[in-house]
Amino acid sequence: MIAITVNGQAREVAEGSTLADLVAQLAASPQALATAVNGDFVPRDVRAAHLLHAGDQVFTFQPITGG
């Protein structure tokens, strides 16, 4: 297992996990959220190729009302 953070909270994921694997645990559908790793946007279609590493800071965003 490797230690990462997701939206600031500590989380462990299996070594070799991709961002797509993580998103599958977090959301009902891959379209439900947008992702960034270590401050950089990671598009939906490259999540499956994006390996997570120890210490990665993952952020996930979803739609909300706004002004």
């Binding site: 439900a32 965003f61 739609p63 009302t65 706004g66 002004g67």
Partner: protein, 267 residues
């Protein structure tokens, strides 16, 4: 315009689309989703602003807001609220493009916590990157001519100067600066964004020749947001019609309007 024709104002072309409504409405802070939905419907708005938030732990359920806002049929204008640096704003804008499926972005990079005043330096840097990346940038900016020119220089085609601090409802604090901006950039779509409190502020913005107004709290925080949405719709239309009709020049002294000849009983 003939008396028999409908009092429609000229359409607005902005961001590659042509709109009948010049009233852009925010979607935050309504008493309920149903009230939001009704307010948008009554407003006639064809552009609504939306946001993004960090997902909370365990919050992986389907998002009802997306369905609601799509059902309005309005163009979605996602914002980068909360960003303090160009880098943050660029990342959030790219997330917004994917989530909402639009290349429009209301670019907010705030530089002061108390007034939520835009940071003109970070704003320009973010706008430069996003314009190159294919975004249609709607920058929430100051009413300062030089920083506005910089935004245009880096690829913005629209400017959205504030009227007053976000959510303050203070109205147009510096109409002279807004008027000057209009005069300096006659061909750039200008939208007053932020600070509008009452429909009279919207009328004022439109009478200054602004192309549209963007507001949120003035409607969502009203006692009756749906009625207020209608009040703003009428105000925006009224102000625009007045601008198109040509407002009379102010005079320092009285100018008699009745065509009498001198005093009625004095020859």
């Amino acid at each position: 315009m003939s008396a028999a024709s409908s009092p429609a104002t000229a359409p607005l072309t902005i961001g590659g689309v042509t709109l009948q409504s010049r009233f852009f409405l925010g979607t935050a802070g309504y008493p309920s989703p149903a009230v939001l939905q009704q307010a948008v419907a009554v407003s006639g708005s064809q552009v609504v602003t939306v946001g993004l938030k960090r997902q909370l732990a365990g919050d992986g359920k389907p998002n009802d807001f997306m369905a609601l806002v799509r059902a309005t049929g309005a163009h979605l204008l996602p914002n980068t609220a909360g960003c303090r640096t160009a880098s943050e704003a660029v990342t959030l804008a790219r997330m917004a493009r994917e989530l909402y499926g639009t290349h429009w972005i209301k670019l907010e990079v705030v530089g002061d916590e108390h007034t939520l005043q835009p940071d003109p330096y970070e704003l320009v840097e973010a706008a430069r990157t996003l314009a190159k990346d294919g975004f249609e940038v709607f920058p929430y900016c100051m009413d300062d001519i030089v920083s506005c020119q910089r935004l245009l220089d880096v690829g913005c085609r629209i400017l959205m100067p504030w009227g007053a601090p976000i959510g303050s409802g203070q109205g147009l604090l510096n109409p002279t600066a807004l008027r000057t901006l209009r005069a300096r950039f006659p061909d750039v779509p200008l939208v007053v964004d932020a600070g509008i409190g009452s429909p009279k502020d919207a009328v004022q913005a439109m009478e200054l020749g602004y192309d549209a107004v963007l507001l949120n709290s003035a409607v969502s925080q009203a006692r009756d947001p749906v009625a207020m949405a209608l009040a703003f719709k009428l105000a925006v239309e009224s102000g625009r019609l007045a601008w198109e009709a040509g407002i009379m020049a102010r005079q320092d002294m009285a100018v008699p309007s009745t065509p009498v000849t001198g005093r009625p009983f004095v020859l």
